[in-house]
């Protein structure tokens, strides 16, 4: 399990206990964290679950695969530290990770 904190664009924080193997998108949608829609349910097809991951956590999560890379390259509001939260699974290594969300995504 990992404790993950999601920070809305206006600074409001939501901390969730995410079970190992569950994606950060699923956990956020189930807990109704605003700002993460996850339209496609994790098929890496929509880029509506983008989060910004601080650099110190980059080596603790799997690298982007091609699909995620290209979706992000063209997503609105994307930055160098953007990830699709449907592609990040909870694991003990990311316990305590804090991610933030863009102003809007659809």
């Amino acid at each position: 399990m990992a404790k993950i904190t999601y920070i809305e664009h206006d600074g409001k924080e939501h901390t969730l206990d995410v079970a190992d193997g569950m994606t950060l998108m699923e956990a956020a949608v189930k807990a109704s964290v605003p700002g993460i829609d996850g339209d496609c349910g994790g098929a890496c097809a929509c880029a509506t679950c983008m989060v910004f991951v601080p650099e110190e956590w980059w080596d603790k999560i799997p690298a982007k695969e091609d699909m995620e890379e290209t979706m992000l390259e063209f997503a609105e509001n994307a930055e160098a530290n953007s990830r699709l939260s449907c592609q990040i699974k909870a694991a003990p290594a990311i316990d305590g990770m804090r991610v933030s969300m863009p102003k809007s995504q659809h």
């Binding site: 189930k30 339209d39 063209f74």
Partner: protein, 406 residues
């Protein structure tokens, strides 16, 4: 007078509306009715990973179990609403109970179009819309079993793709002269026909189903053209119909779906509608649309919630859709209906990655992207802008996707 908001229908739009009503600051009571035994869940995986058995109920269920209770929502699963009485401002359920409402949200969704031929009620003839449908179909997943899929649309082809991987002998029968004829250009249809053939699925086009034969259960599909297809199981996927009857019987304006404006308001100011069941305006295309998609359900769920909470959040976006079959990710941005030119980027005759750009008098209106995420993402943006594109540049792969708009 009640200040309760009642939501009829418990799918994706309803789940989103509950979340958004609270986010919009509505603090009054909410009551949610669904005719299935389950809390709102995602339907798209039902014909994909869920059918394949790769994910279970916990992964399609939209919200945590305690979400509705903790959001102050009274839930009524397995309960069908049978009438809306707008004069009394209450709804009636099948057992005759009345529930007063202050405002109402219709999120009634859609249902499968049924096939009306002899033998339609034989055991082994299935549709795919609900979790329970999937469970019934999965019971036939035994290597060597013969499946006939009636209808070569998204659902039919997704089912075929999953079934053939399970060692099932699959034949798809399609009435039109090509698969997915309603939604894509022939270039895309023929590409999918090639891939399915490569994967071992037999597709027969121009075939009408005349009936199902069998003693106790289905044993064969008989075609109007004189063909007979022996089988153990049939999956029918010939489209869906919007659930508009409740609205129509209540005297609300119904056209191709329940008529709403860009704020999801029906012809009654106290009643909103959202999702598959609506006919709504779209400013990008300049006419009304009825869409069968998750994106539409989520966005209209948000808009309807805002309206019901006394705010304004107009809905006007480029529709988008996706379909997973084998290693193909089809992403569709926009609606290609009425296109005057289809321009191909990449090679659809070999390999498994290309895109088709649909132009109407030079303006981009839609893109079908197969394993082409950049083209899809770019298309969503350019379609919203009504970009005029040069066909020669689209077809030239030495020009990057980002430079297509010139």
């Amino acid at each position: 007078m009640s200040d309760e908001i009642i939501i009829i229908g418990a799918g994706q739009a309803a789940a989103q509306a509950v979340q958004s009503l609270r986010a919009e600051g509505f603090e009054g009571p909410i009551r949610l009715f669904g005719d299935e035994a389950y809390a709102p869940y995602q339907r798209p995986p039902l014909s994909k990973k869920f059918l394949a058995g790769e994910i279970g109920y916990d992964r399609v269920e939209l919200k945590a179990e305690d979400f509705y209770a903790s959001s102050g929502v009274a839930t009524h699963w397995s309960t069908r609403v049978t009438e809306i009485d707008r004069r009394q401002k209450h709804i009636l359920t099948g057992d005759g109970q009345a529930f007063p409402y202050g405002k109402l949200l219709l999120a009634t969704g859609s249902r499968v179009r049924e096939i009306n031929v002899p033998g339609f009620d034989l055991e082994g003839v299935h549709y795919l819309r609900n979790i329970d449908d999937v469970t019934s179909i999965q019971a036939h997943f035994k290597p060597g079993a013969k499946m006939v899929v009636v209808g070569g649309g998204y659902i039919g082809l997704e089912v075929a793709a999953v079934a053939v991987k399970r060692g099932i002998d699959v034949t798809v029968l399609e009435t039109a002269d090509r698969v997915m004829a309603r939604v894509v250009d022939p270039i895309v249809s023929h590409f999918y026909e090639r891939v399915h053939a490569e994967e071992g699925v037999k597709i027969e086009t121009g075939v009408t189903v005349a009936g199902f034969e069998g003693k106790d259960k289905v044993e064969a599909v008989v075609s109007g053209e004189g063909g007979r297809y022996a089988c153990d199981v049939v999956v029918v996927g010939i489209g869906i119909l919007p659930n508009t009857e409740l609205a129509a019987e209540a005297g609300l304006h119904v056209e191709n779906g329940i008529a709403v404006d860009e704020f999801c308001r029906t012809s009654d100011p106290d009643i909103c509608a959202a999702g598959d069941c609506t006919s709504h305006p779209n400013g990008i295309y300049g006419h009304k649309l009825r869409l069968e998609s998750v994106h539409n359900a989520i966005e209209q769920g948000k808009t309807a919630a805002a309206t019901l909470a006394g705010h304004e959040k107009p809905y006007n976006q480029v529709p988008w859709f996706w379909s997973d079959q084998y290693d193909l990710k089809l992403q569709i941005a926009g609606l290609s209906t009425g296109y005057t030119q289809a321009v191909v980027r990449g090679d659809p005759t070999t390999g498994r990655s290309f895109a088709v750009f649909y132009l109407k008098d030079g303006v981009l209106i839609a893109v079908d992207a197969i394993n082409r995420a950049p083209e899809f993402m770019m298309a969503k943006m350019l379609t919203a802008k009504k970009a005029v594109l040069d066909p020669a540049r689209i077809a030239d792969e030495s020009i990057g996707v980002k430079e297509l708009a010139g």
